[in-house]
């Protein structure tokens, strides 16, 4: 089937080469980072994780959100999703690949990455994260590819896939839970030290991931002959609004606990993110933008007439996706590190090389996604024809 990714229109190849160009450019910056060290990023002694780890966290969520298609289709026999479940699984594959690349980009000594396997350490959450992420990648590759292949041959998917599909449901939950455990098990970081972190991660993932998938569906309909379907898109929109409301609910629970208890270790980080602390507040405008975008997205999606208008829906999905991206990809990580353990405020903001490396990782993800979707649409067209 892979050969389908190698045949395409002029526009397809322009897009592919544009992505390759961005990847090459970003790789140049990465070589600079390898040579100089992580000092070319905005990270510092106090904010030791930044843009890379934040993107990793955000994308684990996008990957996990494939389960929002798998559950209705395979567990509730919601037939409409049969048409697009593979799109979710392929999105998960490219997201996990980006996650792995972001982890590698963040390592001070990437050549020693395999030390994690060489000295397996079950008491480290990073060890488990490696296991669940690689497992999730394999499950989605095997399931997505084989189901598509069966569809191409007009036969039902092999029976042995069923247990694997069922396994993918708790596995999807596990990847984002373990990712939350990286943060919420650390004793001295009040911002993350909350049991609601994993649930909130999942809720924001189930909003942001499907929102992105809706945008992809609309794009696929526009640039190919395959239509993911109006009903499918509308059902996804309801998933987005449920996820987004749950995310805001968990967020407000967090805000209440921190602000009402007034325990400084928990309150100061929120204070820093939304109002600034001791005169420092580089993320304040970002956080408020995120809140406005997420809330506007919810309002647009809650109104049936607005949701059913696909142009408005597209806007609502962009709002939701970008809002959650800022909240998780900018605020969540840096916010946990400011103020530092000595209660000093040293801020973080990504540098240009850092952003370029991140853009290149995203380009790699889009390259994988484009090729996978090309195969997917190719099969759909073939079967239809």
């Amino acid at each position: 089937m892979l050969e389908k990714a190698l045949k395409g229109s002029k526009a397809y190849w322009i897009w592919i080469f544009a992505l390759l160009g961005i990847i090459t450019l970003g790789f140049g910056f990465y070589l600079k980072q390898l040579d100089f060290g992580l000092g070319i990023t905005g990270m510092n002694r106090d904010v030791t994780w930044g843009f890379y780890i934040a993107q990793f966290t955000f994308l684990v969520g996008v990957a996990a959100s494939a389960v929002m298609l798998v559950i209705p289709y395979y567990l509730h026999n919601y037939k409409a999703f049969g048409k697009i479940t593979i799109m979710g699984e392929f999105l998960a594959i490219s997201s996990v690949i980006m996650c792995i690349l972001f982890i590698i980009a963040d390592l001070g000594q990437p050549m020693r990455l395999l030390n994690v396997l060489l000295y397996p350490t079950p008491h480290s959450m990073l060890f488990w994260d490696m296991i669940v992420l690689s497992g999730y990648l394999v499950i989605n590759l095997v399931v997505g590819w084989n189901v598509l292949d069966a569809e191409r041959n007009s036969v039902p998917p092999a029976k042995w896939l069923k247990p694997l599909i069922y396994l993918s449901v708790p596995w999807a939950i596990s990847i984002h839970t373990v990712t939350a455990f990286l943060y919420c098990g650390l004793p001295g970081r009040g911002f993350w030290l909350t049991a609601v972190l994993a649930p909130r991660f999942l809720a924001s993932a189930f909003a942001g991931g499907p929102a992105f998938l809706i945008i992809l569906c609309l794009l696929v309909r526009k640039v190919t002959n395959f239509d993911p379907g109006k009903e499918q898109i509308q059902t996804l929109a309801k998933v987005v609004v449920y996820g987004s409301c749950a995310n805001m609910f968990f967020f407000l629970c967090e805000v209440f606990v921190a602000m009402y208890s007034q325990i400084p270790e928990h309150m100061d980080h929120l204070q820093y993110l939304f109002f600034g602390l001791h005169g420092h507040g580089v993320l304040v405008p970002w956080m408020w933008t995120a809140m406005v975008l997420i809330v506007s997205g919810i309002i647009l999606l809650l109104i049936p007439a607005a949701r059913q208008n696909e142009s408005v829906l597209a806007v609502a999905c962009v709002f939701t996706f970008v809002g959650i991206w800022i909240d998780k990809g900018m605020g969540m990580v840096a916010g946990g590190f400011v103020p530092n353990p000595l209660h000093e405020v040293n801020e973080y903001f990504p540098t240009f090389p850092e952003v370029m490396i991140a853009v290149a990782v995203y380009a790699t993800g889009f390259l994988v996604l484009t090729m996978l979707y090309k195969v997917f649409v190719g099969v759909k067209e073939e079967v239809a024809g």
Binding site: F36, G37, L38, G39, T41, M43, N44, R45, D46, T48, W49, I103, D106, L107, G108, Q109, P110, R112, L113, N115, V116, L118, Y119, T121, H123, S124, M125, L126, F127, M130, L182, Y183, L186, P187, G188, R189, P264, E265, G336, F337, N340, P341, L342, H343, E344
Partner: protein, 265 residues
């Protein structure tokens, strides 16, 4: 059990400190010393000489009444010189093993509006707490940071992958990361101690390399008596005597990491 037995035997082997007669175990003791010096990789400790200082759980007592800015800077200089700690102009890339901070930063949970005048502006040294229950060791995915039997938390600079999980885990900000090549920023290299490379984490090692040759930690030597170093497990040690007679506090005691550095205030 094994750990307890081994550390007990080591403890018993410290005949230089004259810790009673445990003649029954003498035979086993020498075996144990050989076994520990033959350990490799992350288990490796500095090769001990006959006059090595040993303990069951190393700890430190810092007497803030004997502190001054001058002493603090002397300690910092001694430590950083001996351990080839680089001095980067850019604060973002700063590496520090021991440094001075004010009370409100050392003990952020114990901020007090009506704090004793003396403490308000007093420079207080902060360093790795060598916690008995270290969150950094729990977080490290490669065991590059590990706890020795005598309680010292060490780094294997050759195993560290530079993920900085330990830095997120440390509740005291005691760890530094080499954001760039440290070797360019070392004024006078001490050839007896390894330099590090970019991309790895480092921190105070309680001068494990000095203890192995019978010397007290460099900061303790430079402290003019403000810092006392010893065995927290030995009720007769000087540190235990100090803790018996004075009220001491530790940084963020409520977190359960059980720091081995005490402050007399």
């Amino acid at each position: 059990m094994e750990n307890n037995r081994r550390s007990f035997l080591k403890f018993a082997g410290v005949s230089v400190l004259g810790l009673g007669s445990l003649s029954l175990l003498d035979g086993l003791t020498s075996d144990d010393v050989i076994a520990s010096s033959g350990q490799t990789s992350a288990e490796a400790t500095y090769k001990k000489t006959a006059n090595a200082l040993t303990a069951k759980r190393w700890g430190m007592v810092i007497d803030t009444k004997k502190l001054s800015g001058k002493i603090c800077r002397k300690m910092e200089k001694a430590c950083h010189q001996i351990h080839n700690v680089p001095h980067h102009e850019n604060k973002k890339h700063e590496i520090k093993w021991i440094w001075e901070a004010h009370y409100k930063h050392v003990f952020p949970g114990k901020q007090d509006e009506f704090l004793e005048e003396r403490l308000k502006e007093l420079p207080i040294p902060v360093l790795c707490n060598h916690c008995a229950n270290p969150p950094c060791v729990q977080a490290c995915p490669t065991q590059a940071t590990f706890q020795r039997e005598d309680g010292i938390v060490l780094m294997d600079f050759h195993r560290c992958i530079g993920c900085r999980f330990c830095m997120a885990a440390c509740p005291y900000g005691s760890r530094s990361f080499n954001f760039r090549d440290p070797r360019e920023a070392i004024a006078h290299e001490n050839e007896k101690f390894p330099t590090r490379m970019k991309g790895v984490v480092e921190k105070c090692n309680f001068c494990a390399e000095r203890l192995a040759v019978g010397k007290q930690p460099a900061c303790v030597e430079a402290s003019k008596g403000a810092l006392v170093f010893g065995d927290l497990a030995d009720p007769n040690s000087e540190v235990r005597q100090l803790l018996k007679e004075n009220y001491a506090i530790r940084r963020k005691q409520n977190l359960g990491s059980n720091p081995s550095v005490y402050y007399l205030v």
